[in-house]
């Protein structure tokens, strides 16, 4: 009982510090996921381009991302980029996360594109639309709809993965929890607190994704 009360005490008294961390986590997640969607779409199009060299580039990228731990990618980008380009820590973290999520999003989008009936492409072409226009106006809108559940899932993973940037010194949600824990030698309440924050973010995101799915279902 005392432990539970203590947890609530920590939860409530620490909120202003955690809100700073929450802001960083959200900013980082949104920025990195937006970049990741752009990377993902681009790489997906490379993979279905039917041009060998472009497919190889896409495959190599996906292989590197899937074949190495995210923490390693973040460290390499952080030490690499901050040394050479002198970019701020935030952007090193965002780049690392985007580089990582981009590969998974590429595979999601590629799968969704390839799941669209080939008759859709033929219908577009038969109307005189060129390949690019058919992709943009006919295939991609349908593919994105179909990819929404998987993308939502990937976004959830992305938000949780963003906690790794605390290891390059960012004070995101998890960074705040670690700092507060080690400063007070009272780790558990802070880690439980940060878990609650993540749960709430994911709950909210799940709710939003479900709403979007419902709205897109009007044409079915």
């Amino acid at each position: 009982m005392e432990d539970i009360l203590h947890f609530f005490d920590v939860f409530i008294s620490s909120y202003h510090v955690f809100l700073d961390g929450l802001w960083i986590t959200l900013k980082l997640s949104v920025v990195s996921l937006l970049i990741a969607i752009v990377i993902g779409l681009f790489v997906a199009l490379l993979k279905i381009s039917n041009i060998k060299i472009l497919e190889w580039i896409a495959d190599a990228y996906i292989w590197i991302v899937r074949g190495t731990p995210l923490i390693v990618q973040i460290f390499i980008l952080y030490y690499g980029l901050t040394d050479i380009l002198l970019i701020p820590m935030f952007w090193a973290g965002a780049a690392g996360l985007a580089f990582h999520s981009g590969a998974y999003i590429a595979e999601i989008i590629r799968g969704a594109i390839q799941s669209i009936d080939k008759g859709q492409r033929e219908a577009g072409l038969s109307l005189g639309m060129n390949k690019g226009l058919t992709m943009k106006r006919i295939i991609l809108p349908q593919a994105f709809r179909r990819a929404v559940p998987s993308l939502g899932n990937q976004f959830i993973i992305g938000i949780k993965d963003s906690s790794l940037v605390s290891f390059i010194g960012m004070q995101d949600l998890f960074g705040v929890a670690s700092t507060m824990g080690s400063n007070s030698f009272d780790y558990l309440p802070y880690y439980v607190t940060v878990a609650v924050y993540y749960l709430l973010i994911v709950l909210l995101l799940t709710f939003i994704v479900n709403k979007i799915e419902k709205r897109l279902a009007v044409s079915d």
Binding site: G119, E122, L125, S126, L127, G128, N130, S219
Partner: protein, 246 residues
């Protein structure tokens, strides 16, 4: 008939899928306002021939002449050619994420740059013509198969094509929905639209076609007026085929 302008001429057309030689030395001429119906068993190559005419399939050899011009992938913008050659598919291929009117105006607005208000006006007139003027605002998923196919016809007509290709337009329909589509096609034929139709509907071929082409194993076996083909076919294979489907 012979005075009329040539719309499509195919000469020595060959097409293979890997080892499979599906079109063998095809010659075919379609004149303006002709309705040419291709019949034959499944796998005889009739759909492939149709798809070669708007370059959804690429020929291996021979020539395809459209509007007097020999079309080659290297020297022609196929997108431009396809604007003039409308196509209606067996499975409709309506765009499910767009409403009926959005389906119809998509290509005119995006490809030809027609103003949206203008395209909607023309699109609604076309939907009226196929008997679906009241459905312009619904999504395709709400339509029956016959209605979907009529929308697909309106969508193709919206580009004001010179020729319309129909690839088994009623094969995916429930029997009671076949007639509404055939009626629409018949009206189109009566207006003088040049049409090439792949179908198993022999009644339609007999009634509407100017020319019937019987294909077997990638070759044109017999070509003639519907009376000749249906009443006094010359080739034994044509007789066999007709007795199996009639």
């Amino acid at each position: 008939m012979s005075e009329e302008q040539e719309m499509i001429r195919v000469e020595h057309l060959n097409k293979s899928f890997g080892e499979l030689h599906v079109l063998k030395d095809i010659d075919l001429t379609v004149k303006e306002s002709d309705v040419v119906v291709l019949i034959g068993a499944s796998g005889s190559g009739k759909s492939t021939l149709l798809r070669c005419l708007n370059f959804l399939e690429m020929k291996n050899s021979g020539s395809i002449i459209i509007g007097g011009e020999q079309i080659e992938k290297k020297s022609h913008d196929l997108n431009k050619i396809r604007q003039k050659v409308g196509m209606v598919f067996q499975h409709f291929n309506l765009f499910p994420h767009k409403t009926v009117i959005e389906n119809v105006i998509e290509a005119p607005t995006q490809v030809k740059g027609v103003k949206k208000s203008e395209a909607i006006k023309e699109g609604k007139a076309l939907l009226d013509k196929v008997g679906l003027g009241d459905k312009y605002d619904v999504y395709p998923s709400k339509l029956s198969g016959g209605q979907k196919q009529r929308v697909a016809i309106a969508r193709a007509l919206a580009m004001k094509p010179d020729v319309m290709l129909f690839d088994e337009p009623t094969s995916a329909l429930d029997p009671e929905l076949v007639n509404e589509v055939l009626t629409t096609m018949k009206e189109l034929a009566e207006e003088g639209m040049t049409m090439v139709v792949v179908t198993h509907e022999m009644g339609f071929a007999r009634e509407v076609a100017d020319w019937v082409v019987y294909m077997h194993e990638g070759r044109i076996v017999e070509y003639g007026h519907p009376d000749e083909i249906f009443n006094e076919p010359k080739e034994q294979r044509t007789k066999d085929f007709l007795s199996s489907v009639l």
